[in-house]
């Protein structure tokens, strides 16, 4: 009985995090971008500095008509948002926020593989949307999504493998247990490559060629309206949470920090995740969009060699210190 309650409670917590954190990141993005550009951003909804803007947006999306284009492949078109969103919910289950087994949704033996595998599935949603919309902009977006995923999956996997080598385990809590502060300079190249490749996988600026709104009109999501479009947006922000959480756990030591082992670990995890999320927003405001060939070039000629070099370095240091 207590087991069932425990499982239910964990699922509930993960679900609440899944629903609220993306909204917090979205609202932060509204305000941070606005202030970086010398504006105020939303100020009216909810009264205090427009805190309820995204709630209002959600209500608006829910009221809109759910349109499916006549030429579209109905079922795949309607299924795509769910395929894009659900993987991130599953990934959140496996990310530990504190020490011990109590602070993670589910301890998985091959946590890294689970997380990266399920994140890769989310991109299928964009591909389905791009193809099923019967729209040339959507098809272009879908093509670009696929090309981008193929290019950036490899450096992401390689850098994650580097951390797994360093820790001698592929379980996420196990990696955190093995963490020492000097891993930070040791794995810093891997951390940067992982984060950049993750940004590209999420199609966040400056890697948002697949959804370039001024050029191919949001790519795969051109034909979507109402709640289904909102689900795609939610998937993007949930993806930011997942990517920042993963980078925190793999490279920044997760709950490690002053008093981290004495009950304040979750504060450290959330703090590091929040700083990384801020960085994601900052990058959006700072850098112009990369062209398609520049995207491919960056991955194959810079990130992949860097991640291979990181693996070599990890191997050498590992052999020397053991």
């Amino acid at each position: 009985m207590t087991d069932a309650v425990d499982v239910a409670l964990r699922l509930l917590v993960v679900f609440v995090v899944f629903l609220t954190f993306p909204l917090i990141v979205g609202q932060t993005e509204h305000k941070v971008m606005a202030h970086m550009q010398g504006r105020l951003g939303p100020m009216y909804a909810g009264g205090f500095h427009g805190w309820a803007q995204l709630v209002a947006d959600g209500v608006k999306f829910a009221q809109k008509e759910d349109v499916v284009p006549a030429g579209a492949d109905r079922r795949i078109f309607q299924l795509a948002p769910a395929v894009a969103l659900l993987p991130y919910l599953l990934v959140l289950l496996a990310i530990p926020i504190g020490p011990g087994e109590g602070a993670v949704g589910q301890v998985l033996d091959a946590g890294i593989f689970f997380v990266l595998a399920v994140m890769g599935v989310g991109v299928l949603g964009s591909l389905m949307a791009g193809w099923a919309s019967a729209n040339k902009f959507s098809l272009l977006g879908g093509l670009r999504t696929a090309a981008q995923l193929l290019a950036y999956e490899l450096p992401m996997l390689l850098t994650a493998a580097s951390v797994a080598m360093a820790a001698g385990t592929v379980s996420l809590p196990g990696i955190l247990d093995a963490f020492h502060w000097w891993w930070l300079p040791w794995q810093i190249v891997g951390a940067i490559v992982f984060f950049v490749a993750g940004l590209a996988e999420l199609q966040r600026p400056p890697f948002d060629m697949p959804v370039a709104d001024s050029e191919i009109i949001f790519g795969a999501y051109t034909e979507y309206t109402g709640l289904r479009f909102a689900l795609f947006l939610l998937a993007e922000y949930a993806g930011i949470i997942v990517l920042c959480g993963l980078t925190t756990v793999l490279f920044l030591g997760g709950w490690h920090g002053p008093w981290g082992a004495d009950g304040l670990g979750w504060v450290w995890t959330l703090l590091k995740t929040a700083v990384l999320a801020f960085l994601v927003i900052w990058l959006r405001v700072t850098y112009p969009r990369l062209r398609e060939d520049q995207l491919q070039k960056l991955s194959w000629t810079l990130l992949v060699p860097l991640s291979l070099a990181q693996i070599a370095l990890t191997g050498i240091v590992k052999v020397v210190i053991s």
Partner: protein, 244 residues
């Protein structure tokens, strides 16, 4: 390519299915299987069905998406057999990369919405024969090899990462390395082939373009799939309306 992969997947599913049946029959008697065995059978049936749809559907992209279901079902079967590591690698490699590559190829060529009547093979019976033969061979080999093998659930799980890694790099390191070399050779071969094709394609405009140093391939190839798609939209729309 899809056909072969799906057939192989279906064959795998059948083989797994058969082992489950024998296991159930031997341990608990045929009529009192455990929950896990029932789940295994049901997932196996769903996987088999998805594999069948993959090879029989006339809609190319639907075939690829049914392949996702098939491969995902196989991953669930691995999980039920306590092979957690293999299950996640299955999702990572097949669903996350191979199917994305397939979809990329389908979208890059013309993959119309709706049925493609020409997406059928005259070798249907030959393919069926090969598939049945492969499935029969797999079932026979797996049943024969593992009839008396039981998964010990009390010790360290047989499919966990540590156990898999140890057996892979202690007992099976030579086949592993041989496969790595094979894949490397395939990779190099693919690069060589693509370079040759590119050199032939770009040889006529050598005089005009190579001097200026612009890359001819990328922007040109990007326009074709859309036009193909647009041409097909008319027919597919008509077909869908007819279907309604």
């Amino acid at each position: 390519m899809t056909l072969i992969a799906a057939t192989a997947a279906a064959a795998h599913a059948t083989a797994a299915h058969a082992t489950a049946t024998t296991a159930a029959a031997d341990t608990h008697g045929f009529l009192s299987p455990t929950g896990v065995e029932i789940a295994f059978l049901l997932v196996g049936l769903a996987t088999f069905g998805a594999g069948l749809v993959t090879v029989t559907t006339r809609q190319l992209v639907h075939a690829a998406l049914w392949l996702v279901v098939t491969l995902g079902g196989l991953a669930v079967e691995y999980l039920l057999l306590t092979a957690e590591f293999i299950a996640w690698v299955q999702v990572l490699i097949y669903v996350g990369s191979v199917v994305v590559l397939l979809l990329f190829g389908l979208m890059l060529t013309k993959a119309p919405i709706g049925r493609s009547p020409d997406a059928d093979s005259g070798n249907r019976w030959a393919a069926l024969t090969v598939a049945v033969a492969a499935a029969a061979a797999l079932v026979w080999v797996v049943v024969d090899a593992f009839r008396t093998t039981w998964i010990d659930l009390d010790g360290p799980a047989a499919g966990s990462t540590a156990v898999t890694g140890a057996s892979l790099f202690q007992n099976w390191v030579l086949p592993f390395e041989a496969l790595s070399v094979l894949l490397l050779a395939a990779l190099v071969g693919a690069i060589v082939l693509s370079r040759k094709a590119k050199a032939e394609m770009s040889s006529p405009p050598v005089n005009s373009r190579a001097v200026t140093g612009s890359s001819p391939s990328a922007p040109d190839s990007r326009n074709h799939p859309i036009e193909g798609n647009r041409l097909n939209e008319g027919t597919s729309q008509a077909e869908q309306e007819g279907a309604r």
